[in-house]
C-alpha cells in the first residue's frame, strides 16, 4: 500500500508544480522562441527605436545579382561550410566565422536568421545612435550629427575600413530611420554562401516602426565593384522582446578551434 500512496503523493506534487508553471501554446509565440506580447500593440512612438528587438522573422531576400569579374574571382576562392555545389572538395570550408572571426556588417544581421532569435537594442550617445547585438556581443555606432560618409577608406588621410563599417543615420519621417554605411573591411563574407562586398559598397538599412511591437527592416546593397546592380539583401520583421532581456552569445575561439580539431576534422568535415 505504501508505495502506491507515495506514488500518488508524488504525482499530486508534480501536478501542483505543473499547474504553477505557465502553460504555453503555439498562440503564445510569434515564431519559435519568440514570445508574443500579452496585449495588442499600440501605435508606434514617434522617432523612437529604443528597446530590445528580436528577429528577423518572415525574412525575404532577393537573389544575389550577377557579379562582376572581380566579384566572381573572390567568390570562387571561398568555400562555404557544408556547401557541396561550388567546391570540388566536399565539406572544405574557409569561412572565417568557423574560428569566430567577426561576422562583419551586414552578415551580422543575417546570422540572426538562425531561428529568428537574434536580439538587438538601440541606445544613444552624443551625436549617435548605438546598436548592440546579441550575436557575438558586438556593437555599432551610427552618427546622426549630419556628417557625410567618408568618400574613401584605407588611403592617406582617410579612416581605415572597419568590420562594421562607417554609418550615418537620419529620421526620414516619424516612423522611418534610415542608415547608410560604407567603408566595410573586405575580409568578412557578405553571407553564409561567401559572397563578397567591397569597402566602397553602400549599404542602406531602413527601419520602419509599424507599431509598438513591430519593426520592419529592409537592407539594400549597391556595390558596383562586385555586383552588376543593386539589390535587396534582406527584408524582415523584428519584434519587441517580452522582458527586454538578452542572452550572452559570445563566439569563443578556443571552443570553436577545439570543435574543429576534435570533432569536425576527424569526422571528415574538413574546415580551415
Amino acid at each position: 500500500m505504501r508505495p502506491i500512496v507515495v506514488a500518488l503523493v508524488v504525482l499530486a506534487g508534480l501536478a501542483t508544480v505543473g499547474d504553477a508553471q505557465e502553460r504555453l501554446t503555439r498562440e503564445d509565440f510569434i515564431v519559435e522562441g519568440v514570445r508574443k506580447m500579452p496585449n495588442p500593440p499600440g501605435p508606434a512612438p514617434a522617432r523612437d527605436l529604443s528597446g530590445v528587438w528580436v528577429g528577423p522573422q518572415d525574412e525575404k531576400d532577393d537573389p544575389v545579382p550577377p557579379m562582376t569579374p572581380a566579384g566572381e574571382a573572390i567568390f570562387k576562392e571561398r568555400h562555404a561550410y557544408g556547401d557541396a555545389t561550388r567546391t570540388a572538395d566536399l565539406g572544405m570550408s574557409n569561412d572565417p566565422f568557423i574560428t569566430c572571426d567577426p561576422l562583419g556588417f551586414p552578415r551580422n544581421l543575417l546570422a540572426h536568421a538562425v531561428s529568428g532569435r537574434g536580439r538587438m537594442i538601440f541606445a544613444s550617445a552624443p551625436g549617435r545612435l548605438l546598436i548592440a547585438y546579441e550575436q557575438q556581443r558586438i556593437w555599432r555606432e551610427v552618427w546622426t550629427d549630419g556628417r557625410a560618409l567618408p568618400k574613401a577608406v584605407d588611403v592617406r588621410g582617410a579612416p581605415e575600413s572597419r568590420y562594421y563599417g562607417h554609418s550615418v543615420g537620419r529620421w526620414e519621417n516619424d516612423n522611418t530611420f534610415v542608415i547608410d554605411t560604407t567603408g566595410v573591411d573586405e575580409r568578412p563574407w557578405l553571407n553564409e554562401e561567401g559572397h563578397p562586398r567591397s569597402s566602397s559598397a553602400r549599404i542602406q538599412e531602413r527601419y520602419v516602426r509599424r507599431d509598438q511591437y513591430n519593426l520592419q527592416l529592409t537592407v539594400t546593397i549597391d556595390d558596383p565593384k562586385y555586383y552588376t546592380k543593386p539589390w535587396t539583401f534582406m527584408r524582415g520583421n523584428f519584434y519587441w522582446v517580452l522582458g527586454q532581456e538578452f542572452a550572452e552569445t559570445f563566439c569563443i575561439p578556443s571552443e570553436a578551434i577545439e570543435y574543429r580539431d576534435s570533432l569536425a576534422r576527424p569526422s571528415g568535415i574538413q574546415a580551415r
Binding site: D101, A123, P126, G127, I138, P150, Y164, F246, P253, I257
Partner: protein
C-alpha cells in the same frame, strides 16, 4: 604586443597613433592637416586639458579615452599582484601562466593570448581599457568597450543580483563572461556597480588572478568634472582570497570628437601570428 588580437588595420592605426604623438609634440604641419570626423586624433584629446567644466548630474554618457589611448590618461593604481590567496586561490593562480611574467607567449595558457577569447569581466575593465562609450536607457546602462568591440549591460531597475549559479531551479543562472550587473547612483556623481556570476574560465586580470563564479566585483565610477571619470574596482571572493582584492583604479578623459580607433578582434589573425611569429620566436632554440 598587447593588441595582437586586433585587426591588422588597428595595427596600422597604432602606427598612426605613434605618428600623431611625435608630430603633436612639435606642433608641426600634422596639426594643421584637415581633420576627418571619422578619425581619432590623440593629440586633440591631449590638448583638451583641464576639467572642461562641472560634471553633469548623474550622467556618464559619451565616449571616454582610457589608458593606452594616446590621450595622456594615466592609470592611477594597477591591480594587486600578490593578494591574500586561500589555498584554493593559490592553486588556481599557479596554474595560470600569464605572458610577460617570465613566461613567453608560447608558454602562456592565457585564453585571450592563445585564442583571442573574450576577456570577460572584470578583466575587460582593467586590461586594454583604451576607450569606452556609455549609454543609458531608463532601466539599464550600457558600457560599450572599444577593445574587442563588446558591450556590457548594467541593470538599474532595482533588481537584486542572482545568487545561484549551479544546480537546478528557476532561480539558477548560467555563469557568463560578463557576469550579471546591477548599478545605482549613490550621489549625483558616483555610480556604483556590483557584478557576480562571471564564468570561472576567465581571468580577473592580465596577471592571471583567478576568480570564482561567486566572486562579487564592485565598480565605483566617479565623474569629478566634464572631462574626468575615474573607476575603482574591488573583488570580494572568499573562496579564493582571504580578503577583498583591489583590481586597480583607472582614469578616463572625455574625447571631444567622440571618435576612437576600431579594435575589432580577429581570432584568425591571432592564430596566424602565433603560428608564424610568436611561437617560433618563443621556442627554446630561438635567437633572443
Amino acid at each position: 604586443m598587447r593588441n595582437r588580437c586586433t585587426s591588422v588595420v588597428a595595427g596600422v592605426a597604432g602606427v598612426l597613433l605613434l605618428s600623431g604623438l611625435a608630430f603633436g609634440q612639435g606642433g608641426t604641419p600634422q596639426n594643421t592637416a584637415p581633420r576627418s570626423p571619422w578619425k581619432y586624433y590623440p593629440e586633440d584629446a591631449r590638448a583638451n586639458e583641464g576639467p572642461g567644466g562641472p560634471a553633469p548630474v548623474r550622467d556618464m554618457s559619451g565616449t571616454w579615452a582610457g589608458e593606452s589611448s594616446g590621450a595622456g590618461v594615466k592609470r592611477l593604481v594597477p591591480p594587486e599582484r600578490n593578494p591574500a590567496f586561500t589555498p584554493l586561490g593559490k592553486e588556481m593562480f599557479d596554474k595560470n601562466k600569464a605572458e610577460g611574467t617570465g613566461v613567453l607567449i608560447a608558454q602562456s595558457n592565457d585564453p585571450h593570448v592563445r585564442y583571442c577569447d573574450p576577456f570577460g569581466f572584470p578583466r575587460n575593465m582593467n586590461d586594454q581599457i583604451r576607450s569606452m562609450t556609455i549609454a543609458t536607457l531608463p532601466t539599464r546602462t550600457f558600457v560599450m568597450l572599444k577593445f574587442m568591440n563588446i558591450w556590457r549591460e548594467i541593470w538599474t531597475d532595482g533588481r537584486a543580483l542572482p545568487t545561484r549559479f549551479a544546480g537546478r531551479g528557476a532561480d539558477v543562472h548560467d555563469p557568463i563572461y560578463n557576469g550579471y550587473s546591477v548599478g545605482r547612483w549613490t550621489d549625483d556623481y558616483t555610480f556604483v556597480v556590483e557584478t557576480t556570476g562571471m564564468a570561472g574560465e576567465t581571468w580577473a586580470t592580465e596577471g592571471g588572478l583567478p576568480h570564482s563564479v561567486d566572486a562579487k566585483v564592485t565598480e565605483r565610477f566617479n565623474r569629478s568634472s566634464k572631462n574626468d571619470l575615474s573607476l575603482a574596482m574591488t573583488m570580494d571572493d572568499p573562496k579564493l582570497y582571504s580578503k577583498p582584492v583591489s583590481l586597480g583604479e583607472v582614469n578616463f578623459r572625455w574625447i571631444p570628437s567622440q571618435t576612437f580607433f576600431d579594435f575589432t578582434y580577429v581570432p584568425s589573425s591571432v592564430q596566424m601570428y602565433l603560428k608564424e611569429m610568436a611561437d617560433p620566436a618563443s621556442s627554446p632554440g630561438a635567437a633572443r
